[in-house]
Symmetry: D2
Subunit: 332 residues, 4 copies
């Protein structure tokens, strides 16, 4: 039985708490949050106790911590938890600062304690099936990857201002998805972006619509499309052209009802947002972490993966400013 | 908090145990089974105790019992549990004997204690969305209903022999689905059936492939197709033509991956069998039962519903033998 | 070059005229119609001449006649054309009277001149692909066939009155489709039907909604659903369960546009009616006729096929009246 | 009746000949080709005469010429035909040289004789429905356009060498599609490309896989993906995200058969190549040209459109070489 401390009792912490509790091999022992009421409420729901994060990290009875706090605390908490000998699952991104993330990477290197980054989409059944089909040779060699990733509605501008920008906050998931599928980092990153959904986002210095093209040393190409608004729901699709075929992981509809009337043939919308779409993925992610920690095998998404995605976000940010391709090696 | 005794720790009992435990308003307190080891194992997994069913029914601290035992015990257990003042959720069918089911119906009438029959498919999100769309007037008035219901593989012949036959064992779900959607019992039942999947099923006196046509007093028609074998998985679809359109509740695929190669464009198979397809429905069914018991409102699927479906199975059995339509009134 | 006389210049005659003209191996030479203006207009459009049908049949320069006149003239015209040594393609049904059709069958038997019946749906690319997949063993042995066949809107009651009834006029196509796919005539026919779309159709003695179940000597079953009204368009689907899989020939949408909004995910309706859906089938039908006549090989849809479908319509009519299964042998 | 001379009797000329002949308002009068046998054969099939192109252009009885010759002759033939007072429909691209195309544009400006460029995809029913839905406001304001355009198999390297490169030869269709849908030229063009399908294409100085991103002055973005090889068939899709929804024009399958087996649920492949997919579009294109010429209204695809697409190909070629965005204004 893995005894787990959860740092952060916000929306995503609540999701993780459910995954921890419902897994037969793990138990939620302690919860912390800067809002002590939130920590107490979530702890009570799961038979855990609310405690300060420093105390949780110091507790020798706790085996693992799940970091779901605000991004600016991730690196510090990873370092502290690893120093205390815990296994760590940390939400993405590692940090908004690539330099700080790389310092963290160095600080924990060789500790022997597992650090996994919470790129939950790798555990989505359809994306997983796509990766498995590619690895099984179903479409030959990968050539051209397309990732469509649209949120249903833009976040408040107050959030945008502290988010690190669309590339670090939102597209970072897609950078990791590209790395997951392609099995390799790209050579160059080319980005365009604009604020067409909400001018206030542009006024805050960010974009809400963006396209990034990645090129690989062997000629493969990937393209990622992001929008902060798809009114019909969370649009999360991956499509991969290979030498012997095409793989497409489609959206998951809310149900399978189809209605045919004089107005056309209408099916259900995609599931509305990440909680609906990715709940099975969050559970599978946690199960993979528990399995790796328990078996002493490497975690499936490493701190290096987290740093790699962040470097791509950095390169995309620079490329959008310059209008030219940025070599990933130049930001690493 | 509803304290629940589970009678029957087999495959379907295990499913219900999960639903009971994961519901915040109910708690699995006791489990019985004729195989005491099975009861002990399931009880242990859920922090409950294994006890004989009579003791569970007699325990005043238990509020509700879920009957998931073999069919021939359903009526007796319903009567005993109601006599003891419990709320009851009983698996389908009420009984293999229509006469016994009607006696049970009479015995518990007016008790004031809720009896719900486990027609789980009413709680499937897609079938529920179909019913809601019909009720909302999306396709006008219902005219022609089609239900496709194929199992992935036939059961062992030993099971077939004690099952009461395809109409009572398998199509009974579809009879209830017809009643749920049409909101009314049919006037006549016409059935054909054959043993084409497995001659051993025919030798055992049953059919493995059947089509039943229902006619309603107002001219509506329904047709139900059953097969014991669809090698591609559990095929569960409902289609309703109305005066202003068509509704189709389609299968749920295992994932959303689509592969295009020289061999064609291939998607995932339907989920394999009822556990995979209907797990959300079992949870929603239990939630509906808890809500009704807690609120004192009528349960959404009554003992009368169970008897009505059984009468249709009886009529279908007779019609298949005679080759003529059977009036439902003549078997009720 | 096959010189063709077209008897009948109505809606379906016009369709056939286009198929004849656009085929490189046939030429429309003469057109007849009881409305001489219609014959002249259609003849002019195709560089043919308008002439009385008797004259066309007698003309030794004409190789083949296509009979697209009213149903009550079909048998007489088939007999006359065969007597004159023509190859014949005659629209369905052979006759409304099974007795008359069988007399015609006898009259032309052994003539050596080809008679083909215009069951155009056999030439639909999707239905053809279904049949080919079955014949190729893709789903093992056929077990349960379902045919859905809904018109977009009911015909005028004046037409219904002279149509011979839904079974002879509309479902006859589906009876032939069942024979085409199953490769065999059924043993029994069971029919239900009602007038729920338009009471005036019921007042005229016909039904507008019907379900017919066919059973085969070897245990196979087929079910056919007809409605005179599907407001979303012409609904023409065939579905076949076999021992190793399922085949479904779906509708053909007007285009492939899909629109996702807050209201759902909407695609185009099916093509509106038979001209839109089956134009490719009419061309393929004509090409098959020309090929058979030119090569001296048997036509792909025989007069026997026409009589067989008519006998099933007769049996369905009787079954609906009696409420019991009718053995096809008893009407043949 | 429009009398038409067809210049070029190759594969695409043959397609146009059919469209001309089957249109009730036009007649194929003369055909030319550098291979005189090809011209004679095609002319004979359509009751036309084979003549040299200069003679066709000079013939006062000919109203319109359709130019389907090799690309390097397009500009000269357009100029000659316009000088002779003909209406012109010319295959894409106008020229491989933007400078030559612009000279041609200047030469025929103000002639008053219509010149239409053969961007046939604008006349595809599904792409047309997408444009119509956008114009009808169905998804609000356009924001992010994606065009997927894959050929089934790469052309011979001998063709690649004279093709002008993927951007001018293949993606030019997609540049025009972007202009058609967005209703405006982009501000910048960013291109990446590689030779991953066939190294011989790379050795010939071209790419076989490419992604181009277009940005618009108002913040809209478009992305175009091209590959010379999609083994499953011609992959031609357009997807447009707007402020109130998403439009997707999908592929057209060869038929609607779906097969479900233990291997999955398999539908037909997309139609194999442009002749299969776009035959209806070629007919609609010709009908639009005839209508515009007959009515004296502007043609729906102008020489300016042809030059605009060519300029985008030029900019893409430059961007791929430099790795930076190219302003379209800088190549115009």
């Amino acid at each position: 039985m893995l005894h787990v401390g959860l740092l952060g009792a916000g929306r995503i912490g609540t999701v993780h708490a459910q995954a921890i509790t419902s897994h037969p091999g793990s138990q939620l022992t302690a919860v912390s949050d800067v809002m002590s009421e939130a920590a107490q409420k979530l702890a009570a729901e799961h038979g855990a106790t609310a405690r300060p994060s420093a105390e949780i990290i110091a507790d020798p009875l706790i085996d693992a911590v799940l970091i779901a706090t605000s991004t600016d605390t991730h690196s510090d908490l990873i370092e502290a938890a690893i120093a205390a000998g815990k296994a760590v699952l940390c939400e993405k991104p590692v940090d908004l600062s690539l330099a700080r993330a790389r310092a963290c990477q160095k600080a924990v290197a060789g500790s022997g304690h597992p650090v996994m980054i919470g790129f939950n989409r790798r555990f989505d059944p359809s994306f997983g099936a796509l990766k498995a089909a590619l690895d099984a040779g179903d479409i030959g060699r990968a050539e051209l990857l397309s990732i469509t990733s649209f949120d249903p509605a833009p976040p408040p501008v107050s959030y945008v201002k502290v988010s690190g920008g669309l590339f670090r906050d939102m597209m970072i998931h897609d950078f990791d998805m590209a790395n997951f599928i392609m099995g390799d980092a790209p050579e160059t990153v080319m980005a365009v972006g604009s604020s067409i959904v909400d001018p206030a986002i542009g006024a805050a210095g960010d974009v809400d619509t963006a396209v990034v093209t990645l090129t690989y040393a062997d000629g493969r190409i990937a393209v990622i499309k992001n929008s902060r608004r798809a009114v019909y729901g969370y649009d999360q699709r991956v499509e991969l052209l290979g030498s012997e075929g095409l793989l497409q992981a489609q959206n998951v509809p809310e149900n399978t009802l189809v209605k045919s009337t004089t107005a056309g043939v209408t099916g259900a919308k995609p599931t509305y947002f990440f909680l609906e779409r990715y709940m099975p993925a969050y559970r599978a992610e946690w199960a993979a972490f528990v399995a790796a920690v328990t078996d002493g095998t490497p975690v499936p998404v490493t701190l290096d993966d987290g740093v790699a995605a962040l470097a791509m976000a950095e390169a995309a940010t620079l490329s959008r400013q310059s209008g030219a391709a940025v070599r990933l090696a130049d930001v690493m």
